[in-house]
Symmetry: C2
């Protein structure tokens, strides 16, 4: 029997995205965002409240990076969501994370997260608080690759459960896309 839960956009799974930007003084800022995803073959979009330091920074530099938070860094990822860049000016360092300047965009790349999208801002709409960006390059630690491809036996992205506020790991392979449904085709 189905029950009504009300107007609850409980999309599963949601990602745990670490959005990193440069502050005006050249230190690195980063925040944790769940409302984002792919919006074109080489573009992503993120909903980012205009009050975030991140928004001020990305409007200034027209660039940011997005790292996919992983299980080994769940404490750091959560910290970046708990503390505001408006009150803590050097969050990344405080989290015990390190960074280098991206080689392709004007934004920091946090070293500890093994998968990072380097992005240039295309637009930010104040009314919907939606940023769209071109992904100009993707960096992956060789430790998560097998023959040059991301391997989920090595990479352990976090996911976010929006109802229970848990971080959840990925589990086993459940099927092959563009394949398993062929069993129903005649």
């Amino acid at each position: 029997m189905k029950q009504s839960l009300g107007a609850n956009p409980c999309i599963y799974p949601q990602p745990v995205l670490i959005v990193a930007t440069f502050n005006a003084d050249g230190t690195a800022n980063a925040m944790n965002a769940a409302w984002g995803g792919v919006c074109d073959y080489k573009k992503i979009s993120l909903i980012l409240d205009k009050g975030h330091k991140t928004v001020k920074n990305l409007l200034e530099r027209k660039a940011f990076t997005v790292s996919i938070a992983d299980v080994p860094h769940v404490v750091q990822a959560d910290y970046l969501g708990l503390v505001s860049g408006n009150t803590e000016s050097d969050k990344v360092t405080k989290a015990g994370l390190t960074w280098t300047k991206s080689g392709t965009v004007d934004a920091p790349v946090i070293a500890e997260f093994p998968l990072t999208l380097e992005c240039t801002l295309e637009s930010y709409d104040e009314s919907t608080e939606r940023a769209t960006a071109a992904v100009v390059n993707t960096l992956a630690d060789s430790a998560i690759l097998t023959e040059g491809k991301i391997d989920l036996q090595k990479f352990r992205p976090l996911t976010f459960d929006p109802v229970n506020h848990d971080y959840v790991a990925l589990g086993g392979k459940a099927g092959k896309a563009f394949h398993d449904g062929k069993a129903l085709m005649q």
Copy 2:
């Protein structure tokens, strides 16, 4: 060592969303979409190629439902992505799925998927192919609830691996959001 993978928006995880609409003749259509997510407290957005039957339908009825595909229905979910509603007029039935009319929006609710968002269309932008919609109600099968809340011990959503084209289940709890990072606060 980090390697460049090029302009590859490999957000992990991605959802497996089943978007259901009514055809003009009152039969149900459904497609499989990965590019979508929450865009406001009671809104979602989806990128849907304008060539899809789904887009024609949702522009006509101004409504659709989004079910979260789950592990027990991976074959049906994949079939809905492999076959076009432009050439197969009764995909949902062909997939062996059943549906009822939503009580809140002018769209079908597929019975077999245990979690469904009932949505009214707010906008569809032809250039970006982005649909935004209000979530007016959410239906959950009581089999996936514990004390009225979605329980990932009972609900097994699929996720999509965009690099390897695998469907991947969720695994175990990896942390508590808005909590674990407190260990780094002073």
